[in-house]
């Protein structure tokens, strides 16, 4: 630790990964996958799956959003700081939404 601080000269060895340029081939593949995901989610909505319809729809949406974040928004190629920022934000988001929904959905638990 101390060694790390002793060497902390802002001009020397600033360790950052070099800016990664995502190319058209990657973008085209992701675009194709997003189109496939859209087709699947529309197709799935016409199937009778009872309570699983919304689960499948949201699952596909999560996969599509993850692809957009990782590749279109370059998070896959970003520094650990950026990955942690996005991860922490989504974690906080899930806590807020999850706890609110858990509250509302269980208020009348067992009373119906």
């Amino acid at each position: 630790m101390s060694e790390h601080y002793a060497n902390h000269d802002p001009d020397s060895g600033h360790i950052e990964e070099e800016h990664h340029i995502v190319g058209p081939v990657t973008y085209a593949i992701i675009f194709g996958l997003l189109l496939v995901g859209t087709a699947i989610t529309i197709g799935a909505s016409y199937l009778e799956m009872g309570p699983w319809n919304p689960v499948v729809a949201i699952l596909i949406a999560v996969i599509k959003a993850t692809l957009v974040v990782l590749f279109f928004m370059h998070i896959k190629y970003s520094s650990k700081l950026m990955k942690l920022t996005v991860g922490a934000g989504l974690f906080t988001f899930l806590i807020l939404v999850g706890m609110s929904l858990a509250d509302y959905f269980t208020r009348a638990w067992g009373q119906w």
């Binding site: 340029i21 997003l34 989610t41 909505s45 016409y46 799956m49 919304p54 970003s78 950026m82």
Partner: protein, 254 residues
């Protein structure tokens, strides 16, 4: 060159610093650090946006749970073809915007202008289709409240579905439940309206960026604006990726 002269011309980097581009601010050690800081700030902003839309999504899920039959029936009146088409349009615009960022990174001036024009056209196309859907709501008296004379909100179609709807398996709702379809349409307009507002803001920024790109801008490596606008545009795309199944799709079969 003496030290005093160096101070006089305000060049704090004259003493042994590596050369750096003009657009690097003096409080950053390197361009990497500056870029990292900029996109960090952009992501923080986008995360506040996630929380904002998350509140709307949560409200939607809670009310859907409470007034389930009303939400299912109201969802069936949405135009699934136009919704799907809009998904296609928006995903394509995200792709063209990603290509625009690539063109800026690799200094392709023509490609950048082309990508931005394509993104602009697709963005306007999305709003056009959305406007047509809103008009359909107006015609069907599905706009909440009494904003439009003669087209106040009316749940009558949910109490007495027409012959075509009955043939399609639609069940009549009791009057008190049918009244709750107004909650569905309030949330529909709040969510798609806020999304459309983000599109309009994005299109305004896009026009400014296109103006600069057509005059050979962003070819000096200073492309932070293009990259961060790209992040914003993709974020708006992600919001729609969730809006589309939640509003249009998940109630198809109940």
């Amino acid at each position: 060159m003496s030290d005093s002269q160096a101070i006089a011309v305000h060049d704090p980097h004259a003493e042994g610093h590596a050369a750096h581009p003009e657009y690097q601010r003096h409080h950053f050690v390197s361009m990497e650090q500056q870029n990292e800081t900029t996109s960090f700030g952009m992501w923080l902003f986008l995360l506040t946006e996630v929380m904002f839309f998350g509140g709307l999504f949560t409200a939607y899920l809670i009310y859907r749970n409470w007034y389930y039959p009303a939400f299912v029936a109201a969802s069936h009146t949405l135009n699934i073809f136009e919704g799907s088409l809009n998904t296609l349009v928006l995903i394509t615009s995200s792709f063209t915007m990603a290509m625009g960022v690539w063109c800026a990174e690799t200094k392709r001036s023509k490609g950048l202008v082309l990508a931005l024009v394509a993104t602009l056209i697709l963005g306007l196309g999305f709003l056009g289709i959305k406007a047509d859907e809103y008009h359909e709501k107006y015609v069907k008296d599905h706009i909440p409240g009494h904003t439009f004379p003669g087209h106040s909100f009316s749940p009558i179609g949910f109490i007495h579905p027409d012959a075509e709807a009955l043939k399609g398996g639609e069940k009549p709702l009791a009057a008190d439940m049918a009244a709750k379809t107004e909650v569905y349409f309030s949330l529909y307009f709040a969510m798609t309206g806020m999304h459309a507002l983000h599109m309009i803001i994005g299109i305004a920024l896009l026009c400014g960026m296109l103006y600069k790109a057509m005059r050979g801008g962003y070819m000096d490596g200073n492309i932070a604006f293009v990259e961060n606008f790209g992040l914003y545009w993709h974020f708006v795309d992600i919001v729609w990726i969730f809006l589309f199944p939640l509003l249009y799709l998940i109630s198809r079969h109940q």
